[in-house]
């Protein structure tokens, strides 16, 4: 049976933890709003650029561009894992790590391919570098002061080994921001680009005028498209992270309240028991005196 003092100490502990989780929740909520605006405003461009790009890519482009050509034998894969830099955001990082590990295992063991990892975000990097994975690159701290320049540099870093022929495929695993309370894990191909044109549009596409030339526009758009993809992924993951953290901290705050409630009950019961015991002792003592006196 814990003493009254123990219980009081625990209540105080829970209380201060709750203060912290509450503050973290508020901070996450404020940051979430900005991150959410950023991704929602960025989505239309990401969607439209693949529409326009789709109108440019025919069989000829597919064969001639390194970004588009699909390799017959895929042997080396670069897996880009996007986690957060910080924890305390529920299952956000764990889920991504789980998904990436499963993919890694499937490709290595079942299909006999070589998979290297590129970790965006500190949590994923910390996990994978300590284990039996070949981490070839990392980007820790990109989410602090996230801007297009940083993102473009990162994109170039990821694309470079592909262009050099070190990898046959680049694959992304990241969290997509669905709503404040839910994130969706997305695994998708990054390179080669799988954008295709809509067959219904073919009759218009054949009549397109291209300025300066189809080739030039494709050359201009492909790197732009890839950079934008990375930018979008970063924004998605960033917004999802704050959503996850806010939810996690909200749960933690509620749990702390519940815990405090039950601790208070135990405390009050123990206090009452102590008082009852004392009264009992006094009364029985008084009774004993009365008996011996008479």
């Amino acid at each position: 049976m814990p003493t009254l003092r123990d219980i009081r100490g625990r209540i105080r502990g829970v209380q201060s933890t709750q203060k912290i989780t509450k503050a973290m929740k508020m901070v996450a909520a404020a940051k979430l709003r900005r991150a959410q605006d950023a991704i929602i405003n960025a989505r239309p461009y990401a969607k439209k650029i693949s529409v326009t790009l789709g109108r440019l890519i025919g069989d000829e482009e597919r064969e001639n561009s390194i970004y588009l050509a699909e390799k017959e034998n895929v042997e080396n894969i670069l897996l880009v894992v996007v986690t957060a830099d910080r924890g305390l955001c529920g299952a956000f990082n764990t889920n991504i790590i789980k998904e990436a590990t499963a993919y890694h295992k499937k490709m290595m063991k079942e299909e006999g391919k070589n998979v290297d990892l590129f970790c965006i975000g500190k949590k994923g990097y910390d996990f994978f570098r300590k284990r039996d994975f070949n981490v070839v690159g990392n980007a820790v701290g990109v989410f602090q002061g996230l801007n297009p320049d940083k993102s473009n540099q990162l994109a170039d870093l990821i694309i470079k080994p592909y262009v050099e022929g070190k990898y046959d495929q680049i694959y992304f695993v990241y969290n997509e921001f669905k709503s404040v309370v839910s994130q969706k894990i997305i695994s998708e191909d990054f390179l080669p680009i799988t954008v295709r044109f809509n067959p219904e549009e073919k009759k218009y596409i054949d009549n397109y005028i291209y300025e300066p030339s189809r080739k030039k526009i494709v050359e201009y758009m492909l790197p732009k498209y890839l950079q934008n993809q990375v930018w979008r992924v970063l924004l998605e993951s960033n917004a999802a992270e704050f959503g996850a953290r806010m939810t996690a901290m909200d749960n933690a705050t509620t749990n702390a309240s519940d815990l405090m409630k039950s601790l208070r009950l135990t405390y009050n019961k123990a206090r009452q028991a102590a008082i009852t015991k004392e009264i009992l002792e006094i009364v029985s003592g008084a009774n004993a005196l009365k008996k011996s006196g008479s």
């Binding site: 950023a38 405003n41 960025a42 461009y45 990401a46 439209k48 218009y204 009549n207 030039k216 526009i217």
Partner: protein
């Protein structure tokens, strides 16, 4: 029907959507205007100004730093790297960045730095120029 659909989208946001009578863009092979029933065209465009005529009374301008324009079936999609209305342009900031670019061109020895600085200078000057358009 003299109108067609126009969308101007940048990586940061959707800048404009609506029905317009004409749009003029600084195409890579020279400025061109798109009117209703324009033939399908896909073109890149350079640093400059986009002019949007909504109707006789109202037209809008955007300062842009390049992108692509895609015209198909009376739907015009402009994917711009950046697009700002004249009243949104922070002229003081643009002047500062022009100054920075000039210094870099003067001081830097590397060709790639100079190229970057020149592009940045051109963007800044364009923004200053377009900030006066109404």
């Amino acid at each position: 029907m003299k109108e067609f659909d126009l969308e101007i989208v940048t990586p940061a946001r959707v800048c404009y959507t609506g029905k317009v009578e004409s749009v003029t863009v600084p195409g890579s092979l020279g400025e061109f205007q798109v009117l209703v029933n324009h033939a399908p065209i896909l073109s890149t465009f350079e640093i400059g100004g986009i002019k949007v005529v909504e109707n006789k009374e109202s037209s809008l301008y955007f300062a842009t730093s390049g992108g692509t324009v895609d015209v198909i079936q009376n739907k015009v999609l402009i994917l711009a790297n950046a697009a700002e209305k004249p009243e949104e342009i922070d002229v003081a900031r643009a002047e500062k960045s022009a100054e920075r670019a000039r210094n870099r061109i003067r001081e830097s020895g590397k060709e790639i730095d100079i190229m970057r600085a020149e592009a940045s200078l051109a963007r800044a000057l364009n923004r200053i120029k377009i900030s006066t358009w109404r």
